[in-house]
Symmetry: C2
Subunit: 290 residues, 2 copies
Amino acid sequence: MKIHRLCIIGVGLMGGSIALAAKARGLCQEIVGVDRDGENLLQAVELGVIDDACVDAREGAEFADGIVIATPVGSVRPVFESLRPVWSDKAFYTDVGSTKSSVVKAAEAVFGEVPKNFVPAHPIAGRELSGVGAATVDLFLGKRVILTPLPVTQIRALEQVRRFWHSLGAKIHDMSVAHHDHVLAATSHLPHVIAYTLTHMLGRKDEKDEIFQYAAGGFKDFTRIASSDPSMWTDICLANQKEILAYLRQFEKELKAFGDTMEQGDWQAIFDFFAEAKAARQRFLDQHHQ
Amino acid sequence: MKIHRLCIIGVGLMGGSIALAAKARGLCQEIVGVDRDGENLLQAVELGVIDDACVDAREGAEFADGIVIATPVGSVRPVFESLRPVWSDKAFYTDVGSTKSSVVKAAEAVFGEVPKNFVPAHPIAGRELSGVGAATVDLFLGKRVILTPLPVTQIRALEQVRRFWHSLGAKIHDMSVAHHDHVLAATSHLPHVIAYTLTHMLGRKDEKDEIFQYAAGGFKDFTRIASSDPSMWTDICLANQKEILAYLRQFEKELKAFGDTMEQGDWQAIFDFFAEAKAARQRFLDQHHQ
């Protein structure tokens, strides 16, 4: 595929990585980056990540034939509002939001119904770092990108967006909006909430007892996702509140049940529980390496 | 220091790594390995990790001048019982148990009081793999080893054990038995219980919805410790039951409070909570890299 002018709105980790990969693969003639953060935008130009810079989404997107909204999910609605006057039937539109029903709702609120050439997408890729300085050319290589097309979505736009993400090195999966938010609440949103909560609790304890210096590599890996961007994750909690809460409440129950089993001293049950969990993770690893 | 005959009881990940590091650093003339698992023991000989093999701890330790108990904590008491008839005042004894009060209790049960030349130790190092095949020569390099000497401990034995672990490349910290178990419950035992419980819950869900295929690298890191040895971790839960349960119950409360805040939709509070957790983890990283 050949894009004349690719517009990336939000040139952070995701947007910057899209730009780098699109350039490396010769996907487009020029890339215009839009960002509210002038310093970040300047850095994107200096790093050569984008060719042209713009603080206004409307202006940046006006003559583009491919537009990617790569802002945090909480900013998608105002972006749609900026784009509305220059929305073009000839371009394709996609995004990178970690929650999809909130993005769909934002589109419905602004446009009445979701535009036929907007295809919601979620690349299952990331790092705990943020900003254009953290962008890498291979962020999407071999990673999954979930598309959540709607009944109103135009086949042509779907195929363009599919090809776009595929060209960046990703493997494409289609899924319904609701199923996406349900699945991601389990494998991503709940683990983030747990990691933040544990790190918060132990952080207060560390101030008193200096426990962190006796933590090992396992702890470092376990809490890595608690270094993720707080504002992005507040957005996600708001956007997928119902699904996350349902899992969180279920997890509270399972944790309490585990504690009760420990209190009763049923060590055979504890062993079986650990062995089942280890086996489940092995299934995950086996799938992951396919 | 020069050890004539080093006896390692339990030649798994830890025992095997001790043997490899001791050999590489020329710490001892010969290493005898003791293991109940004949196949693992044979592998240790074939890999050249140990010089001499023995299935009986008493026989293996009899003429040794340095003895390391590197079995899971649940097997420490029977090992003490085997060693009792050949316990030598001229040798030093140490262990690698992840919980220390259970080891001290086992020693008291077998010997009346903790032998003056046994210095409990806990190397804060590990991998989620087990068995001698997972042993590495640098497992302890730059890692912390916590010693929990007792009032009855002989200064000479303490210095020998300190030099022993230091010679394997570790940084030595002294701590009381109770403080050790309190700190490790927070930074190691609780995270393991949480990771096992989450993986167990999502594993059941995966059987229905195949959610694992949409999990990202963050999930892989977060659940890594749920691939740890189930029997070792059952032992640890038993050995440090009280401390782990106290933290687990506190964590349940904090998770519930987070859920309540989400339910109320207080997004500023959620943001502050995430930002504080991220800052706490940064403090951990800063300490870790010192």
